[in-house]
Symmetry: C2
Subunit: 438 residues, 2 copies
């Protein structure tokens, strides 16, 4: 009870509600480093499940993962004029490489050793176009090396003044795809293909309907020819940018001299694309589905899909009910279900219910009296957890897509309802950038 | 041919041989950032396969993944005296958060904006004990919160003067396990358990025999009570430290005030462990198995387990042989084998053989004349790739553990041979720290 009351209702304060849901579900926590968050196990598991699904889609479309340095020489950023302008005011700069004792006590005990100052400061990557295309220049010689299709899963730092858990943090996790192509048409097709991959993931896995569109020139990525974006509608009628895909043209190829020999023997600059989604998607997931009782999570992305909450009144009942619970857990786990048995004796069942509901577990199994359900054999362990309901649980979890269809319909009807309430064409809460695709 | 000749023989220059194998197999490349490497797709795939196997073992032993900030406030490092002493001379320090135009051209066009200087510099994590235990202090209240078993996959920066691809780089990838326990005995058991997990992985997956032992006080981790390590013997008779597991005692718990209420109502400091393995393992894999023709990779960790090299003399033969190749590839992929069909027409078969051998592909399938093997029907596509040999390939890949047993026996006999050649007890190339475990 106490737990559930800690969540501020949406109607009272939407922003507080969001923070409460994230904290109560133990998705993330504030860290002692300004603007940086800690992603706790329950939140990180969602990210792992997202990663697995997206990574499979990236590999199915021919991309390979690689890893590029965290640090970018300061001068690299300057090579593409719009790019440096876009990022100059939000970069973390490494300038020294040793600590020195000051002789003072406490927080003042150390200082950067002036003798360790770097000749050229290093930028902690705010995005990796510059360092990656410097490597592409080394690897690409001929049209036979194209297309080059890469992706990187990594951490990113952008010095943000106002931060919100998952939605905007100084450090965040993401993937960034980077590709090089022989023609503009191929790069354009790639940028749009990956936008489609993101849409498929966000709609089919996250059950988060999105609107895709092209950004205006004023809003496009710093250094891009064209930027496509996905925007999702949140419960406060505001749009959340959920991903971007850029046709970079030849801007970076020219800045980093990424050229290839054509089949005819000529020399041309390559055409690049880059595209990314971040841990912000977890914030989008929270705001799309959750309610005043806490996180609501699509079964495919739920860290725990089924929780078993056993209830006992005596030691004997406890042993019995935990014995059955353990077996049911094993059975479900074998069927590929992510399942937990909550055997804690420090919490009452009601407190456990509220905790697991706040954590967004799709299905809870419990039984007040382990014997009552069984016709004939009081106390039989076999039926104590309603095996048939567990079978149903397995099916419902595996039929997550059905759940998603219902959610999408609900959402779309809500969006349409708002359309009519607003002034016709100018939809309340619609994404700013909805220039139609193609 | 040209490719293979680029690998310096081990006997001539072991160090050059290692670099050549890494570069020729396209595992990694030098980056424009001093001491930082790029992990190329072929090398990163090995890391992904290592991660998957280890992560399953971590989860099976009850650990959950989480993510903590890249940055650590400078003052945090100072809280554990030995810890700061151990890392003070190799940390990257973030001191500014904005770039400023200087008005100059080229590499001098930018400088850190003096107005963006941080009040307290941030350390790019050289390891995460301090930031993680600061969070543990927030999450741990009672004995019921223990043990707390976490792991993090992330990047790490230690400013190294001399670097070698995979073996010692300024930035590297690793996992760091961090746990908190109620008693010293539990922490000690955890530290040793994880040492055992590493041994299992390195011997059963990497086929790299290791010797485990306890580090001397002079060599233990900065801030640890006891450090256990795994040492593997490389082909140059030198030991490579392949992983460490630390019983941290209550050193960090006291520095960060991580206390818990006991069942009896008292207040105690927790006992911590931390343990990690890094991308250095890829260097160990290279040096354990590879030869003068390039990378040799255990099938379980091979990014490509089978390569199909089709050969044709006419356009008709090409279509035929690629058609069959595609089907065989699909069949193998369905059987769970990582397989490539090398359809490039820009390289002769001999060049392809050398390239794939350098990349450590366990099995190659090829056929000079697609018709010759088929009794009766000249040019039949069905038999052109010897289906029976593919069946054998699937079995051999899936029987990788057999391959590993043979490798280990070969290795152990080689090590023993050296024992006898040397002065009895004092084994040539034996790890420095081989104080026996318990």
């Amino acid at each position: 009870m106490a737990q559930a009351q800690k969540i501020t209702p949406r109607a009272k304060d939407y922003s507080e509600w969001y923070n409460d849901v994230v904290m109560q579900a133990e998705l993330a926590d504030y860290s002692p480093v300004r603007g940086c968050m800690v992603i706790r196990p329950h939140g990180y598991r969602i990210w792992e499940l997202m990663q697995r699904a997206l990574d499979d889609m990236f590999k199915a479309t021919g991309h390979q993962n690689a890893y590029f340095p965290l640090f970018i020489p300061m001068s690299f950023l300057a090579k593409e004029a719009e790019h440096v302008e876009g990022f100059a005011k939000e970069v973390a700069l490494v300038t020294h490489t040793r600590l020195k004792a000051t002789g003072k006590a406490g927080a003042q005990a150390l200082m950067p050793d002036p003798e360790s100052a770097l000749e050229e400061p290093l930028v902690v990557r705010p995005t990796s176009e510059t360092i990656i295309y410097a490597m592409f220049a080394k690897w690409i010689q001929s049209y036979r090396d194209l297309p080059l299709l890469m992706n990187q899963w990594c951490n990113i730092v952008r010095w943000e003044l106002r931060t919100r858990l998952f939605l905007r943090t100084t450090e965040f996790l993401w993937q960034e795809g980077h590709t090089a192509h022989a023609t503009e048409a191929e790069a354009e097709a790639e940028a749009r293909q990956m936008l489609g991959v993101y849409r498929t993931f966000q709609e089919d896995w996250m059950a988060m309907p999105v609107i895709t569109g092209r950004k205006t020139d004023g809003e496009k990525f710093a250094g891009a020819l064209r930027t496509y974006a996905l925007e999702a509608l949140m419960q406060d009628n505001k749009a959340l940018q959920a991903g971007t895909s850029h046709n970079l043209g030849q801007n970076f190829a020219k800045a980093f001299n990424v050229q290839y020999q054509t089949a005819a023997g000529g020399l041309e600059y390559v055409w690049n694309t880059s595209w990314g989604v971040t841990t912000r998607m977890i914030g989008g997931l929270v705001m799309t589905h959750s309610d005043d009782n806490g996180l609501v999570c699509p079964p495919q992305l739920a860290p725990v899909q089924v929780v078993i909450v056993p209830i006992w009144k005596s030691e004997e009942e406890k042993n019995q009910v935990l014995g059955v619970g353990g077996k049911v857990k094993e059975e479900l786990a074998r069927a590929g279900v992510r399942v937990e048995l909550d055997a804690r004796d420090s919490l009452k069942p009601g407190a456990k219910y509220f905790e697991w509901e706040a954590k967004g577990v799709p299905l809870r199994h419990t039984r007040r009296n382990p014997g009552r359900v069984v016709s004939g054999s009081q106390g039989s362990t076999r039926s104590a957890f309603h095996p048939r309901r567990h079978q149903a649980a397995v099916s419902r979890v595996h039929e997550g897509r059905g759940w998603i269809r219902v959610r999408r319909l609900l959402w779309l009807s809500r969006v349409r309802g708002r359309d009519q309430a607003a002034d016709g064409g100018n939809r309340a809460g619609a994404p700013r950038s909805r220039i139609p695709l193609g």
